[in-house]
């Protein structure tokens, strides 16, 4: 049994091509295919093809990578002189190239995220005096902070577990948002979601001004998976690049609100269905309702699917299409996402909203002669006040 197993293989997003250079099948040297009759390349349409003459470039694996397989099934070329030279590159050079690739990948991600969250020509920074008032309004004393709500609910609803444990779950195990409403009926959930959709969609149709009170952006250190040699440097890069936006930003026109309020660019704010939501609660707060929606885990969203039906998510298919060649695989898993808002009972208008979106980005990176997988966990929290 053990001989058949390839230990520690993370199946969730692993690109077989980046994980096993046997798939690239050199013609005349190096690893032999498992099927001896395979003497020519078989091209799988969604995998990168290595053209003849460049096969040797893919044969060196980074031995200290977390993806290095313990069963000795590596596919090194042995006889080709040119390949042998590349194989013997010193470790410092391999680490340097790894680091460079990681930094470029991180920079691209950060640039992508910034481009989605900032638009200088459409926003206005709110004066400090206004900021104070809006911040106070946005998070009333009776309402716990979103991050606090997640932690509290999780520890109370998941016996014997805590958030630390949750982060160590296998990638093929689904992560669900904590349940806050035991025994909630589907009917009740649907009613709340429909009410939320209705109220939320009034923002873009009726609001005269939206203020983004703050945007917290954090790097989840315990989700970071990289070859150990570069993990420390990559961590510090992430910490320096993924920073909060503490200055309030005002969207004073209908166009700006449509462009920036969730879902950016759409003329609506929510098309959530019961399928997208783990639990939904609506609490009576006097003149207002407080609505909390815990969304289900959503892998690789594209526009108007899963979490993208109410939140600002990466369009993964587009990211894949536009990714540079050294990013051989890309996946984004949105988990434990929470939407909270307060709605005026009399008008059905959302006056405050808060969106928290943890995302686990999984990348396959390939520099031609060295390849590895990376995982980066980020959390975005955006907080808005809406005026009509």
């Amino acid at each position: 049994m053990d001989n058949n197993r390839i230990e520690n293989r993370d199946g969730a997003v692993t690109n077989p091509v980046s994980d096993n250079s046997a798939y690239k099948m050199p013609y005349s040297q190096g690893p032999y295919p498992q099927v001896p009759e395979w003497t020519k390349n078989i091209v799988i349409s969604d995998k990168p093809w290595i053209p003849p003459g460049e096969e040797g470039n893919v044969s060196v694996r980074f031995n200290e990578s977390e993806k290095a397989e313990p069963d000795g099934l590596d596919y090194e070329a042995a006889s080709d002189e040119e390949t042998a030279d590349k194989k013997e590159w010193p470790m410092w050079m391999q680490i340097g190239v790894l680091l460079m690739i990681t930094l470029v990948a991180v920079a691209l991600l950060v640039a992508n995220i910034k481009a989605r969250t900032t638009s200088p020509e459409e926003v206005t920074t709110v004066p400090a005096a206004v900021t104070t008032v809006q911040s106070a309004t946005s998070v009333p004393a009776t309402v716990p902070s979103v991050s606090g709500a997640i932690t509290n609910n999780y520890t109370t609803e998941n016996t014997g577990s805590d958030k630390e444990d949750k982060t160590t779950e296998k990638d093929d195990e689904p992560t669900f948002a904590p349940s806050v409403s035991n025994g909630q009926s589907e009917k009740e959930k649907k009613e709340i979601i429909e009410y939320f959709n209705e109220c939320s969609n009034r923002v873009k149709a009726e609001a005269v001004k939206v203020v983004k009170n703050f945007e917290n952006r954090s790097h989840n250190e315990d989700k970071l998976k990289l070859p150990s040699a570069i993990k420390g440097v990559a961590k510090s890069v992430l910490e320096s690049k993924i920073t909060d936006l503490t200055e309030p930003v005002e969207y004073p026109t209908a166009e700006a609100i449509i462009a920036r309020y969730p879902v950016p660019g759409a003329e609506w704010s929510s098309k959530l269905t019961a399928e997208d939501v783990e639990t939904a609660t609506r609490t009576d707060k006097g003149d207002e309702y407080e609505i909390t929606l815990f969304l289900k885990t959503c892998v690789d969203p594209s526009p108007e699917t899963g979490t993208s039906r109410a939140m600002d998510c990466l369009d993964v298919p587009t990211v894949r299409d536009t990714a540079p060649p050294f990013i051989t695989a890309f996946s984004a898993e949105y988990y434990d996402c929470v939407i909270r808002c307060r709605v005026e009972k009399a008008t059905g208008r959302v006056v405050w909203s808060n969106y928290t979106a943890p995302v686990l980005l999984k990348l396959g990176l390939d520099a031609g002669f060295v390849e590895f997988d990376a995982e980066i966990g980020l959390t975005f929290e955006k907080d808005y006040t809406i005026t009509y």
Binding site: M1, R5, T14, P36, T273, A274
Partner: protein, 401 residues
């Protein structure tokens, strides 16, 4: 020599060339040594038509009664066959009928020979494919969308409760498909797989794509795990075998680098594709056995191949054919061995072992049917007709008895 006595099994005769071989195997290899105790059902197409396919249902019910059956390959009629046999209607596949009655899972296992090297160089032991032959795309509703519009998924409960989700807002033409499976069927599939793994003392692998299909495939994964944890974990530990779940893409990567020697449980489409891949890579469909196992422990053995129609037409012209009977012989040995196991009949089990050894030994001696000659990598290979091959096996078996 006194013939070996046995408990009753269900015998299901079939069609065309395999029907001819069936009788040859009985006459030459079984009846001289075993007092065959069978309840006979003629599943040949003419009799199925005559009985309005009632005979298939009765055969399935009989397997439930006696727990062991052996079946010859049969024709699943299409329009051409309806005309050829002048059928009253296009009867369902008897395999599907029996599978539905037994609620069983089909396990296909290759028969290995030293002179036929698997296409995958590391495969040393058989890989058994267990296919969940129910639902999914094989029972899907689908249509083509000719222009823009919204596709929605709607479920209406018995109580009138509805659930609706947008599948896609089409901005252009496209295609749409809706498919389903049932918890009860998945549970039966899981039980059959766990039982067969225990029965054959092999590890059980199971694969789906649950990271992408978080409701549909996840249900398969969770049901398997729940049943394993609650009902089979201890038995597996005692037997020294493992249940191993992984993603389908990971499973494919592992299978292609493995040594074999396990059961790989697959969803319907995966099993369809992978059983052809495995049988081809091991050599030939003519060397694949098939057993239908029900969750409550009934077994139906047969060859994985069809009725070998082309050879039958040549046979009708009076020509000798070289049709490979190995999988059909192994269907009989599988059934006899299982009957022996259930009844504690060691003599019958030993006979089944000897017949298999005689069959493989004949081939290892270089005597085989034409299809194997083309694959043979041993020192010498002599192509025999079907009758000659069965005669050679008989000779070897008589030396062993």
């Amino acid at each position: 020599m006194e013939k070996i006595k046995m408990g009753k099994i269900v015998e299901m005769d079939g069609d065309e060339m395999t029907r001819i071989i069936w009788q040859m195997i009985k006459d030459e290899l079984l009846l001289p040594y075993v007092e065959l105790n069978t309840e006979y059902y003629d599943l040949g197409l003419p009799y199925r038509d005559e009985t309005n396919d009632e005979v298939s249902i009765k055969a399935g019910e009989a397997i439930k009664k006696y727990r062991v059956g052996v079946k010859c390959a049969t024709i699943t009629p299409n329009a051409q066959r309806v005309e050829e046999y002048n059928l009253k209607e296009m009867w369902k596949s008897p395999n599907a009928t029996i599978r539905a009655i037994l609620d069983g899972t089909v396990f296909r296992t290759p028969i290995l020979l030293s002179g036929v090297k698997p296409a995958v160089r590391t495969w040393e032991k058989p890989i058994t494919i267990a296919r969940h032959a129910y639902g999914d795309i094989y029972k899907a509703s689908e249509f083509r969308i000719e222009g823009p519009g919204k596709a929605e998924l709607l479920f209406t409960g018995e109580d009138g409760r509805t659930e609706k989700a947008t599948i896609y807002d089409f901005e252009c033409g496209g295609v749409l498909q809706g498919m389903y499976n049932k918890d009860s069927s998945i549970r039966s599939f899981a039980h059959s797989c766990f039982r067969y793994a225990l029965d054959t003392k092999q590890d059980l692998w199971f694969s789906t794509k649950d990271t992408i299909s978080k409701k549909y495939d996840q249900t398969f994964k969770l049901i398997f795990q729940e049943i394993f944890d609650s009902e089979y974990k201890e038995e597996f530990e005692k037997a020294g075998i493992e249940y191993f779940y992984t993603l389908i893409d990971d499973a494919v990567a592992r299978v292609i680098r493995s040594k074999g020697g396990y059961i790989w449980a697959c969803k319907n489409y995966d099993g369809d594709v992978m059983s052809d891949m495995v049988s081809t890579a091991f050599g030939s469909l003519a060397m694949m056995t098939s057993v239908l196992v029900s969750p409550d422990g009934n077994f139906e053995y047969e060859a994985a191949h069809g009725t070998v129609t082309r050879h039958y037409y040549r046979h009708l012209k009076g020509e000798e054919t070289s049709t490979n009977p190995v999988a059909t012989i192994f269907a009989w040995t599988g059934a006899l061995r299982k009957r022996g196991e259930l009844d504690g009949n060691a003599e019958l089990m030993t006979f089944a072992d000897k017949l298999e050894k005689a069959t493989l030994g004949t081939i290892e001696d270089g005597k085989m049917t034409k299809d194997l000659v083309a694959l043979w990598q041993g020192e010498r290979a002599e192509a025999l007709t079907t009758a000659e091959f069965i005669g050679a096996v008989k000779e070897k078996l008589s030396e062993m008895m």
